[in-house]
């Protein structure tokens, strides 16, 4: 999940870094490491002692550099076809300043920038995708924050960009409707859950490196029941199935030695779910993290040393190879499974390019889920 981040930051850095560092040597693109090292300055840092509070933390955290609302779903159509679905709204702060609306209230009128709704240092990018065995469609939307264009607001809790919109209930994310209209596909989903939110890591403080130098605030809702319709190329399909929501925010994501990540959200037979990610080191060994979760809200964190991940198969898309099949072994949880992509061509070729698609689980447990692979495009 983190991988988008890097690339996103890379792109945005081309825009933002300029005032800070690039004036001296504008032609050299900043390396990923220096970029992520330097640029967190001024943004709020992830703090272990900050607890996650609902429903406040469903909303955006503008003082952190990046944030997302990330939904993946494994559905089945009335015709019995398997179908994967993704919806992600990213938020990025382009500068560490507090948003001008807030600043304006505190300062004298002549020092405030402007009280226009247009003025905002926050931008949103939303990705939507639908994946079947034979096709993979993805589209994106970009917008600055403007209450009428793209925003995250409460009562009812709304996460929107243009006509793509998540509408929750009151201050809570659920029950919700999700509506996306892209050119090649559209979907209208009803999302319901009775399970408590799952805090990842230590009470929502999720470490992303062995030395704990990088972390994020991270919570999930892995037990969502979905029903609705998905239209592909103008043909409507009634769908139902399960979905998974991830919420994550931070100001720095990778440290200098990290290249990319592989992230798994798996629903195993017997009612448990498994969140698993690997941050691949450039030279150093990878950092692993995971959590086995249950619908009653309970769960067990899985330590890095207990996780074994092995690539089982590579697949090349436009001369980039992605590991689309994996062998995962977690002896402490008695898990020994193989993961295979429903559609190995599920690369998301948008402003930021990465692999994201539904997977089938076999082995010690059967099941399904979603996989994200980033940092392979070089």
């Amino acid at each position: 999940m983190i991988s988008k981040q890097i690339l996103l930051v890379l792109i945005l850095c081309a825009l933002t870094i300029t005032t800070l560092t690039a004036c001296s040597k504008p032609s050299t693109p900043p390396s990923m490491g220096s970029l992520l090292g330097d640029n967190a300055a001024g943004y709020t840092k992830v703090d272990k002692s900050t607890p996650i509070v609902f429903p406040k933390d469903h909303l955006s955290h503008d003082d952190f550099r990046q944030e997302w609302w990330y939904l993946t779903a494994n559905l089945e159509t009335d015709e019995g076809e398997q179908l994967g679905l993704q919806w992600t709204q990213f938020r990025v702060a382009l500068s560490p300043k507090k948003s001008p609306e807030k600043a304006a209230k505190k300062t004298e009128s002549h020092t405030k920038l402007t009280d226009s709704d247009w003025a905002s240092n926050q931008i949103f990018m939303t990705h939507a995708a639908v994946t079947t065995k034979t096709s993979h469609l993805a589209e994106e939307r970009w917008s600055r924050r403007h209450p009428r264009l793209a925003d995250v607001s409460t009562d009812p809790l709304t996460i929107k960009i243009d006509d793509w919109q998540w509408t929750g209930t009151g201050a809570d994310l659920f029950p919700a409707t999700l509506k996306v209209d892209a050119r090649q596909f559209s979907y209208r989903l009803t999302l319901e859950t009775s399970a408590p939110y799952q805090l990842q890591g230590e009470q929502g403080y999720s470490i992303k490196s062995a030395d704990a130098s990088v972390a994020s605030h991270y919570y999930s809702q892995p037990f969502i029941q979905v029903s609705g319709t998905v239209a592909i190329d103008g043909v409507d399909h009634k769908v139902s199935g399960d979905a998974w929501l991830d919420r994550e925010w931070s100001s720095q994501f990778l440290n200098k030695t990290q290249a990319g990540w592989d992230w798994f959200a798996l629903r195993l037979e017997g009612g448990s779910t498994l969140m698993l990610f690997q941050l691949r080191g450039q030279d150093k060994p990878s950092f692993y993290s995971g959590r086995r979760m249950f619908a009653d809200g309970s769960g067990r964190n899985i330590a890095s040393k207990d996780i074994q991940l092995q690539v089982a198969n590579w697949h090349e898309i436009d001369s980039v190879s992605y590991p689309v099949a994996w062998n995962i072994s977690i002896p402490s949880e008695n898990i020994d499974i193989r993961i295979e992509a429903l559609n190995p061509d599920a690369r998301v070729p948008l402003s930021i390019s990465y692999w994201e698609g539904p997977v089938i689980v076999s082995g010690s447990h059967r099941g399904e889920g979603y996989m994200e692979l980033t940092g392979y495009e070089h």
Binding site: T18, L94, S95, H146, D162, D181, Q184
Partner: protein, 840 residues
Amino acid sequence: MSNTKLIRMTRLCLEVFFAHYRQAPLQAGAISIGIILAVTLLIGVRTTNENAIQSYSSATELLSQQAKWSVTPPLGSKRLDENLYFDMRADGFSNSLPVLQGVASDSNGKRWRIQGSDLMAALTSFPASVSASASQVNSEARAKTGGGLFSVNIPIGDILSGAPLVLTSKSLAEQISQDGDFVLGGVKISVIALDDASNLGSDILMDISLAQRILKRPNELSYIALFSDVSNNKSHLERLIGNRGMLIESDNGDGLTALTESFHLNLTAMSLLAFVVGLFIAYNGVRYSLLKRQRLLTQLQQQGIAKAPLMLALCIELLLLVIVGSIIGFMLGLQLSHWLQPMVSVTLEQLYGAKIFPGHWQWSWLFQAIGLTFLAALAASASLFIQLIRQPLAGNSGHFTQQKSANKIYRYLLFIAITLGFVASILLPFSQDYRYTMLLLGLVVIAIPLALPWSLAFMVNQLLKVTPKGLLHYQVAETKELIAPLSLAMMAMLLALTANISMNTLVGSFESTLKNWLDARLHAELYIRPASSQMAEVESFLKRHKEVDALYKQWYLSSKQDKLPINIVTRDKLSLAETTVFKETVENMWPAFFANKLVLISEPLAIKLNLGLGDGIDLQALPDNHFTVGGVFYDYGNPYGEVIISPETWQANGFPDTPMSLAINVTGDTDKFKQELQQAFSIPDAMIFSQEKIKQQAIIMFKRTFSITQVLNTLTLLVAAIGLFSACFMLTQARMAPMARLYTMGVNRRQLTTLVFGQMLIIVLFTCLVALPTGAILGYLLINKITLQAFGWSIAMEWDWFAYGQVVLLALVSSLLAVAFPLYMQTKQPLISSLQREVI
């Protein structure tokens, strides 16, 4: 002959020619000058034109993006409510860009054009797609279009937050920085310079958050650009827009191109004319150098060099001269364009609101210029080369036969001229399109100089009949001999003179027509255009004041008719009746007009839409009505077509009630009243005009329209003068020997000088005499055909003797200088060297 031998012989010939030119650099110079001048003007105008035309298409949208559709304010209002934009985005029209443009003043009162848009939307308004190829195209498009903004250091976060940061082209940024602190609309601004290639032109680009603040237009937009093709859900979008705006398909600058087409055609025609004049000079140079080398060429042939290598060598020589001349001309042409462009930009920006960006030139132009010049020069010199081949080896042909063949050629040329003139005069009455008319005019332009040698010979013969015997008779008789060597230069001169005279006639006539029209059109003393919010107050203020004798009102709105931009206008009844200057009307026009059956259309619109009295017209802006054209009125200098409807029709269609402008007559001191009015309502100077000022501005604008044409015209005349100078110069040098002979026979220096000057005077004056009717004919065609068809302006032709005198004087001065210089040189040489020239 084997190839190697051919090459060897050709090289030998070239070496000999090279040696010859080292002896006589003037000859090579004369050829090169002709080519240089021809190419300079051709390239200069071409660069200017292409640059302007290219600017139209890229000006449509900033960041080089082309919006396929746009939503503009509804008829009668200037801006959109930004809520419309939000509604469109919320309805899924995502690839759209809100734009607010306007003019803001800095602290020195200088006005700047502002382009405000959602820069985030501008950077990301690309359709993203999933297929690999599409995404590739997409990323390429992004690299190309977004590159301008991504590649430089822009603190986009601050900009989107409403920080006072603006983007301008580098040249504009330099201009701004000269003035020190830059304060726009009360906001202190920092400028970020972008590369000039980012197509910002003279606009200041900023985020919409800042633009709305500086322009003091919160929640308003000028238009919305749509980057995706909405033709499939057009009706849905139109329902969404309702009466809040209008959905318009963009023409990618075609409208502007159409509007300025005749202007550019004018320039192109002028540059081609100059090119032809330049070629005349080059041809004259080639001819002269061949004449001087006649003996040399014969000798070469007598030495055993075959005709093939000789011809090849001559062609290569010509090619080399063309290449050198073209390269120099190309560079000078780019420089010329650099000087012309501000002039063109001013005209186009003032007249048509077009933005002109810094230009680019292409190497291909140079190669085209070389190719064109070489072909033209080769075609022109072909007859000379062929003549050379046919020339008997036994020596020079006699003088008499030369003269005889010259007479034959004159008659032959005259025949061609008459044929061309005949064809043109038959076809001209049928031509309705100024492009065809221009083509036919081209025939006339070619015919005029072709008729010159015969006309000159004829006139000199007539003169000879009345000249007393003696030296004077000899002088005139010898003038006849000079026609042949001078005819080419004189043809070029005649062409330039004719063009100049006709252009002067056109400009002079237009100016006086415009003045007369303005006198009739402007009946009030003060014209006021207050802000629409003030209009009601201003009106009641004017009604209260006793000094105001009469109050006239005007309403108008912009629309389109058959893709032409037009204004729909109405005025109060009195103004309509008093100030509309008609070309033609139907009988009893006014009653039918006020009964809402007729409309009045401007002359340019009538010509562009090919409408006449009694023709039906359905206005796009008034879809429910059907009208008949009841009158055509004169309208000068207005690039937009105009349709006048009755005030009742205006009201019946629900157009805004508030007039757009007012006009008043004042008893007493107009200036005082103007000041009073300005103070009471703080109306800016730009919004209140006295009649005098309007007239003045109209004349200024008109002069700008023609200034570039006149500059080119003068340049052509200068080129011709240089041509004449070089021809006379060479001729006089060639005549050193016969003059030395006359001197030895007892004709003194004074008499000789008078003789030579007299001869030149006769030829030049006769040429100017010929230019008089031809200039008038060309002027007549320019006024009554080209201008009428291209611009739609009827002009009463007026002859300007003073301008005619000026160009005649220029021709005389240049030719007399050309004669005086070699004569002066001769006095410094011993007589014997002049005599010896005969033998060499």
